[in-house]
């Protein structure tokens, strides 16, 4: 692995003052004549917040759009599961919020590892997003006067989070889905469900199509277009257990990576502090509970390790409210990475609770005493019900047990200011790209970014590609399609041909465990090097011993899963490599070698104030590139929540 700083990475952030860049850029961008737009075929992969909003908006503008998703309906994309809310710098609460403050909080929250220009644009368009969603009929929470309510979320010092009970992601996605359905009904979007993208097709170095596999009958199909938009979400399921949906996967992004799209910062994964702990060997996924719970719940563990008593039997003096103790000014509301890491530390010290010792208490006793059970029920009733349903325990009478879980991935395919990857014509939106959250994402910012990319950014910037490049006619008979389809067929046949003895799931679980233990909440060189070896040998074992039943010509969920796990195996190695080379702690990436005396993350701004982007080379090697991050408007400082 060698480093070639900036060798191919032009961020294309326009010049000028930070708050004028986006306006200026929009003006400077080439335009596509409205009459010509329908001649451009745009392929949009994924129908989450980013994909649905982009497909709908591009179709509204007049482009011909074809949209794909792996689920049975566009409405199922995992954006739907986001609970908390969406940030916007509306300052409706008159508490001093502004575009600049949202920008600043996001940059700082990301531990200064995001691009200033992108983040400022995100803060700018955040306001339009709310306008758009309200106009679509998204039922945001309102006050008695009929105006929108806001709350403070994830430790923000201003109330800028718009929310729809605990189902904000669902309501925003249904808004975007509605917009998409409107365009499908009008014939301007052709929607294909239960189709998985299995390869990207490039002609003359430009993304000109994709190959999909129909999940109902195994058929491979070729789709040609003038641009490809990947809106395929994050790679959290490399950890097997995560809060992601079961079908969330890295395949589309990984296939694009293997065709030349650089993968940036894969080591940045977000571990969410308030999830329901693992219960047993068949656990298939982890369930997140909104971190709004931390507004009233107090996090604690017993003072002494090995305390097997029930929570109620442990007196006040024997409890360690460790977040309140260590971070008196933020207390239980410290950012996600800090809360997660501290939970791991106390559990590693043997002070964890529950059967597995891999949990900490989130206690509402004091809040119920202070505000009354009814108030707490009104605030968190649905979350308490969910907890009771899953664990069989009543959180009103015994403290919740929580543990961190993989939740979001800040890394993703590298994109420039236009959201275009290193493959011309390939745009990457939402969680699938790396752009706006740096090393750590703030609460209520994922929905904002997905919709910003889809509603406002790509519909403007895609013209730079469509109008700026000569795109000769290409159809699916081009040999590049034949090659990509043949390669895909071969890959799936190879999976069926192994005929080994272990199930796909068992490999996935093992991979997940390696990643979680060695490349999870905290990492160190020895562990990462070990993980690298383990993943390599696991991957070899997978290709020798996996058993995929059924055939390639029918609905075969086992084969689907096998294809995704095969890609996760390759991706996992890159993630670990990335964590290995980043000799610092920042945001979600905590390297044990790099911590302060108080066990806080220690950034290395001299050596690592950059994006690491990986280029896939023939023979399975990865070439490292960097994009230096220049900060003009903010001073780099150490995040402190003391």
């Amino acid at each position: 692995m060698t480093t070639q700083p900036n060798s191919q990475l032009h961020d294309h952030v326009p010049g000028g003052p930070l708050d004028e860049k986006w306006t200026r850029h929009k003006f400077d961008l080439k335009l596509v004549n409205p009459a010509n737009r329908r001649k451009f075929e745009i392929l949009v992969v994924g129908t989450g917040l980013a994909g649905a909003s982009a497909a709908a908006t591009l179709a509204e503008m007049g482009y011909s759009v074809t949209s794909f998703c792996v689920q049975d309906s566009a409405r199922r994309a995992h954006s739907i599961a986001a609970q908390g809310g969406i940030n916007a710098a509306k300052n409706y609460k008159n508490d001093g919020d502004s575009v600049h403050r949202l920008f600043y909080d996001t940059i700082k929250g990301g531990d200064y590892r995001a691009r200033e220009g992108n983040v400022h644009r995100l803060a700018e368009v955040s306001r339009q997003i709310i306008d758009q969603c309200v106009a679509q009929g998204v039922p945001f929470a309102r006050e008695y006067g009929g105006l929108l309510d806001n709350r403070s979320f994830g430790g923000a010092q201003v109330a800028r989070t718009f929310y729809a009970r605990g189902q904000t992601g669902q309501q925003l996605l249904l808004g975007a889905y509605g917009a998409l359905m409107r365009q499908v009904g009008a014939g301007r979007v052709k929607l294909h469900v239960r189709k998985e993208m299995v390869d990207l097709v490039e002609v003359d170095g430009v993304a000109r199509g994709i190959v999909t596999r129909d999940l109902t009958n195994g058929q491979f199909e070729r789709w040609a277009g003038h641009a490809v938009l990947l809106c395929t979400g994050g790679y959290g399921n490399v950890f097997y257990l995560s809060t992601n949906a079961k079908a969330s996967n890295v395949t589309a992004a990984w296939r694009a990576h293997k065709r030349g799209a650089f993968f940036a910062n894969p080591c940045y994964t977000q571990i969410h502090p308030t999830c329901i702990p693992v219960h047993g060997e068949f656990q298939s996924k982890l369930t997140l509970m909104s971190e709004s719970l931390r507004n009233d719940g107090r996090v604690w563990v017993p003072q002494d390790g090995g305390d097997g008593r029930l929570a109620a039997e442990i007196s006040e003096g024997e409890r360690d409210y460790y977040l309140e103790r260590k971070y008196p000014s933020f207390g239980n509301l410290v950012p996600r990475d800090v809360a997660s890491r501290n939970a791991k530390q106390v559990c590693d010290a043997g002070r964890g609770v529950g059967d597995t010792g891999q949990a900490v208490y989130l206690d509402f006793r004091d809040a119920i005493q202070r505000d009354g059970r009814d108030t707490i029920q009104a605030r968190y009733g649905n979350l308490f019900d969910m907890y009771a349903r899953i664990t069989g325990e009543d959180p009103y009478s015994v403290p919740m047990r929580i543990f961190p879980a993989v939740h979001y991935t800040m890394g993703g395919l590298w994109v420039d200011y236009n959201l275009e990857s290193t493959v011309p014509g390939l745009f990457v939106l939402g969680e699938a790209n790396f752009s706006d959250h740096g090393a750590n994402r703030l609460g209520a910012s994922a929905l904002m970014q997905g919709l910003a990319d889809g509603y406002f950014v790509v519909p403007a910037t895609i013209a730079s590609h469509l109008a700026g490049r000569t795109l000769p006619p290409v159809d699916t008979s081009h040999e590049a399609f034949a090659e990509a389809e043949a390669a895909s067929q071969k890959r799936f046949q190879a999976l069926l041909a192994v005929q080994g003895s272990r199930t796909v799931d068992s490999f996935h679980r093992e991979l997940g465990l390696i990643c979680w233990n060695k490349c999870g909440m905290s990492r160190n060189r020895a562990g990462l090097e070990e993980a690298l070896q383990s993943i390599r040998s696991l991957r070899a074992a997978f290709w020798q011993d996996v058993r995929v039943l059924g055939d390639a010509r029918s609905l075969n969920q086992n084969l689907e899963h096998a294809g995704r796990v095969a890609d996760f195996m390759e991706f996992g190695e890159l993630m670990v490599n990335d964590a290995l080379q980043r000799e610092e702690s920042c945001g979600g990436h905590f390297r044990e070698e790099h911590q302060t005396e108080e066990n806080e993350a220690q950034r290395n701004d001299e050596g690592f104030c950059h994006v690491t982007a990986w280029e896939h080379r023939d023979g399975d090697s990865e070439q490292q590139h960097t994009e230096e991050l220049a900060f003009e408007s903010v001073q780099l400082s150490t995040r402190s929540y003391k």
Partner: protein, 256 residues
């Protein structure tokens, strides 16, 4: 398989298997020991691992988020869509609901509007097509006024939310003795009928969504209200009354 520990449930699970859309199907029976703390879908995962260990193909079933919000999971368990618990999707149903020694019957959602693709997987594309007929507010990106331009009374917003909570799972259809999709359609029509943003397209929406629903081969609502009892999001039949009213109103007004 898992080593049996005290408290584990021994179950006999009968699952509908069907190789493809037009193939005959049958129940296959599997004996299984499982911890009461596993979820229903994890039980099926386990059952599939057991099948695969014996060289049998796993049973196909739809699922995705496994936290009760995406609407992808389905299943009729012992005659009830999403199983015996109220306001619970199959993915959130846990095995502690069942007793040691139980026989459990697992069937797909059955309706002409939801053709079976394989085993327990059905095609709910009809719901998407109904949405396409009018389940939206026609507002192009970028053309929206400020979010505070139109206040919405809190009670209307709350009731609209109750309807908007629909996850499109299709349990209402599966539970309805007539396989009617009224609750699904009502939820969308009602949400927009309650909000000022939905007002301009109110008439056209009610008419065209009902027409689209009828075209999909769903049955007619006869007010059994089984849908509401099956709905994992507790959407009430008052929304169906509102749909009836909206449809009547729109039918009596001139077509635009």
């Amino acid at each position: 398989m898992s080593t049996s520990t005290t408290g584990d449930l021994s179950l006999t699970v009968h699952v509908w298997c069907q190789a493809g859309p037009d193939q005959p199907g049958e129940f296959v029976t599997t004996a299984l020991t499982i911890s009461p703390d596993t979820s229903f879908l994890e039980m099926l995962d386990c059952l599939n691992e057991q099948r695969m260990a014996g060289g049998l193909e796993p049973i196909a079933f739809d699922h995705d988020c496994r936290e009760g919000i995406c609407g992808m999971c389905s299943l009729v368990i012992d005659g009830k869509p999403h199983g015996p618990e109220q306001e619970t999707t199959t993915c959130q149903l846990h095995m502690r609901t069942f007793n040691d020694g139980d026989d459990i019957w697992v069937e797909p959602f059955r309706a002409k509007g939801f053709p079976i693709l394989r085993d327990l997987v059905v095609d709910r594309g009809a719901f998407d097509r109904i949405q396409q007929a009018g389940g939206y507010v026609s507002v192009n990106t970028g053309s929206a006024p400020d979010a505070h331009a139109v206040p919405v009374p809190k009670p209307a917003a709350e009731e609209a939310f109750d309807a908007a909570a629909c996850i499109g799972c299709g349990a209402c259809v599966a539970a309805c003795p007539n396989a009617s999709a009224m609750l699904f359609v009502a939820a969308k029509v009602s949400q927009f009928a309650l909000l000022p943003q939905g007002a301009p397209e109110r008439d056209a929406r009610a008419r065209s969504m009902v027409e689209a629903m009828d075209a999909e081969g769903f049955g007619n609502c006869t007010n059994h209200f089984e849908c509401a009892a099956a709905c994992p999001k507790a959407i009430d039949v008052t929304h169906i009354a509102r749909l009836n009213r909206e449809f009547l109103r729109s039918s009596l007004r001139p077509r635009g």
